[in-house]
Amino acid sequence: MHLAVALEGAGWHPAAWRAEGARPEELFRARYWSDLVLEAEAGQLDFVTFEDALGLQSLRREGPDGRVNRVRGRLDAVMTAARVAPVTTAIGLVPTAVTTHTEPFHLSKALATLDHVSGGRAGTRVQVSGRADHAAHFGRRVPEQTAGDGELPTFDADDLFEEAADYVEVVRRLWDSWEDDAEIRDAATGRFVDRERLHYVDFEGRFFRVRGPSITPRPPQGQPVVAALAHVDLAYRLAASSTDVVFVTPQDTEDAARIVDAVRAYELGHERGAPLVVVADLLVTLGPSRQAADARWDRLDELDGQEHRSDAQRFTGRAEDLADLLVAWHDAGVQGFRLRPAVLPTDLVAVTRELVPTLRRMGQFRVTYEGCTLRERLGLVRPANRYRAARVGALR
């Protein structure tokens, strides 16, 4: 079973920053993030994800909420992952990247570089942004569709996801735009590279054109791992067409089985190297007893002044019971889990020091890391380079 932890601010409960053990004054310091990831690595977790967005956190869909009692502000996720890479050795690093407003050329080389600096441990979770207030930060495009009376316009969802699919295609092409052996250092001819092994990607779509090649050599994994979080049809389709991993949000064991079937159905009709790795999200609050965990959660709701609702199913209780739940969902076809700790580092530490040993006793989780790259850990092969295949094919 694959096990990951999703890192977000002080934790996934909005009042996490006020909890005992939280380090809210350190959220914008490197040390905080490296401590968290080192803790996850000590538990031999597959990877950590880093949340991100191109705007300030807000409860309102239409714009800023003016709240002063919740965490506001965040650091760039790709850079935070890169800052952590040299101080860790084995854990996968999966920052969120927004595909709306940003440049596929920049993201491709950023993730390739994250893969270089981490020795093949990079991934990304791609995310679209349909918010009008975030679009105004870029001033480049205007939202095209009005959602309804009294609501601000938002982007057309079909367009956002179509753009995201194009984006991932370009990013992958750019990773392939350097063959692995493009650097030849041939003293006899004075050539550092063989340009026959560097490729224009020549992507033309509705949203952008990109010529290539990348300025960054092909990363160690060939292509870093791409993931998406899916709740709705459009996102499942994006995952089926474009990503390696899909994060899903089942509500119970039956729902988990249903979602896995649905994912497999979405995959039909797409030429995929490997099936999607299906990873279920759970919001976790752990304690020595169900009552203790519930009390922690209730206290957080009380601090925030409202009941927190999450897209992911919430588990509140003992690590042993969480282990049973994970095994049941795993038996239902889910290949791994991305746990969202309610409070950091408290619930992360409970995962690495209580959940992981429990799963190990049950024979359900690795004792040591095997494989060097994130792909190897997830059972994904290193992708062949599309341009090399075409070039070598043409030569034959």
């Binding site: 914008f28 850079m79 040299p86 001033g139 300025i215 960054t216």
Partner: protein, 453 residues
């Protein structure tokens, strides 16, 4: 110097990049992309108490004759990502990244530099460069290019917008006060509005104010407009005038422009790029320098250089033979693309080179070595240390951005032999006194936003 404090030599290192100054054919030459190379160079620089580590950038692979140029190093990491990683393996060294103001947007770049400044605890610097070429634009959404005359307008407005974003959070805005339950001190943290010819943006910036407030701003352009931009906006200039006379002229020129912007001379540092070749003796260093020049300019590289001036295919010419008798083609499209430097008067250059080749009896390769492979400091460690001190004392520079010719070990010898001499002479620190790059450079802290208002 008459009683004034001894002028300190600021030192920085440039990770050797995609120009022919980087010798890749040497057996000691290591990877240009493995992170270990970046770690090595950065740690050597930090152990030598350098001010900062510098990365250049180019957003499209260079071409000549419509094909990717193969003779120099090709390929580099993403600037923000690799600098964030270097922050993890260093403690005090400044981290300077070149980022283009044409193929980026202010919100994203402002948050990336603010993030780098947070993740490095106050060591970030931005070398603001401009592009206008459609060639690079083909890799970006922006697609169609920026008219050349607008590139500084966009750069200026880009930087102004970034500063508005950095100033949208004050030093005291993050309270994170568990007792009162106030995470931020006001409802409108991060508010900004900018409406100008290049950018019309507004909303909330999402990175709290970073340790330096703003990253240190570098400017690298040499044109009149570039110099004015530096005089008005920059904290430091990355210049190309590293010799004594040219350095003094440039130094006086840009420092003289500051008063018009209400700035004092010490508010803008002049830091030329400089190469170096060391030897046990000056003669030994001269011999090694000649070897390095030959490594930097192969026969094929010499022909390629000549082609960029002649703007013609000269592949049929022998690099060990005389210069072409044909004249440069000034009408055709440029055959070289993706380079910042352009040959502005090819006919004149060709005439001058012919005269030089004739008077010294140089073949093509020898000529190109003569005219292109600039080496700033060549000598024994004692001579180089004395030269560095003299150029700074006589105000030809405030310091230098050293460009080694080897990755990753190109700074090792300098750090081992020259730096201790500079330290003995009292012109280079033995320990960092401050923690931020602004402190290393002797720059005043950025004024808090409240005072700016």
């Amino acid at each position: 110097m008459s009683g004034a404090a001894i002028r300190q030599v600021h030192l920085a290192v440039h990770f050797p990049g995609v120009n022919n100054t980087t010798v890749w054919s040497d057996p000691r030459s290591g990877s240009q992309i493995d992170f270990a190379s970046f770690v090595h160079l950065a740690r050597v620089a930090e152990d030598a108490r350098f001010d900062f580590f510098f990365l250049a950038e180019g957003l499209r692979l260079r071409e000549q004759h419509g094909r990717i140029y193969e003779l120099d190093v090709v390929g580099r990491p993403d600037t923000f990502t690799v600098l964030s990683a270097v922050a993890a393996v260093t403690d005090r060294l400044g981290l300077a990244g070149t980022i283009n103001s044409t193929f980026n947007e202010p919100y994203e770049v402002a948050r990336q530099f603010a993030t780098l400044d947070h993740l490095s605890a106050g060591r970030a610097a931005w070398n603001v460069v401009t592009s206008w070429d459609a060639f690079t634009g083909e890799n970006f959404r922006r697609d169609s290019f920026l008219p050349e005359e607008l590139r500084y307008e966009r750069a200026r407005e880009f930087l102004a917008t970034a500063r508005e974003l950095w100033d949208s959070w004050g030093d005291g805005d993050v309270l994170a006060d568990q007792r009162t339950g106030m995470f931020v001190g006001r409802e409108d943290v991060g508010s900004f509005e900018h409406d100008g010819p290049q950018f019309c943006v507004g909303g909330r910036f999402n990175v709290p104010r970073s340790p330096q407030g703003h990253p240190v701003i570098f400017q690298a352009g040499d044109s009149h407009e570039g110099r004015e931009f530096a005089a008005a906006e920059a904290d430091a200039i990355f210049s190309r005038h590293g010799t004594y006379d040219a350095g003094r002229a440039f130094y006086a020129d840009v420092k003289g422009r500051l008063a018009r912007y209400g700035r004092r001379p010490e508010e803008l540092l002049v830091l030329p790029a400089a190469t170096f070749v060391l030897g046990d003796t000056d003669e030994d260093a001269m011999e090694r320098a000649a070897e390095v020049r030959r490594q930097q300019v192969s026969g094929a590289t010499a022909i390629a250089f000549l082609e960029r001036v002649w703007n013609r295919d000269l592949s049929a010419y022998d690099p060990d033979g005389p210069l072409p008798d044909v004249e440069p083609d000034v009408d055709a499209d440029r055959l070289s693309k993706g380079r910042a430097d352009r040959e502005k008067s090819p006919l004149e250059t060709a005439r001058a080179w012919r005269r030089l080749a004739e008077s010294k009896g140089l073949n093509i390769r020898e000529l190109i070595i003569e005219v292109t492979a600039r080496q700033t400091f060549v000598g024994s460690p004692a001579s180089v240390a004395a030269d560095l001190e003299r150029l700074v004392a006589d105000r030809a520079a405030d310091g230098f951005i050293l460009v080694p010719h080897l990755v990753p070990g190109g700074l090792d010898e300098f750090a081992r032999t020259v730096v201790p001499l500079l330290q003995e002479r009292g012109v280079h620190r033995s320990e960092y006194e401050g923690t931020t790059l602004r402190e290393h450079l002797g720059l005043a802290p950025v004024r808090p936003k409240e005072e700016v208002r």
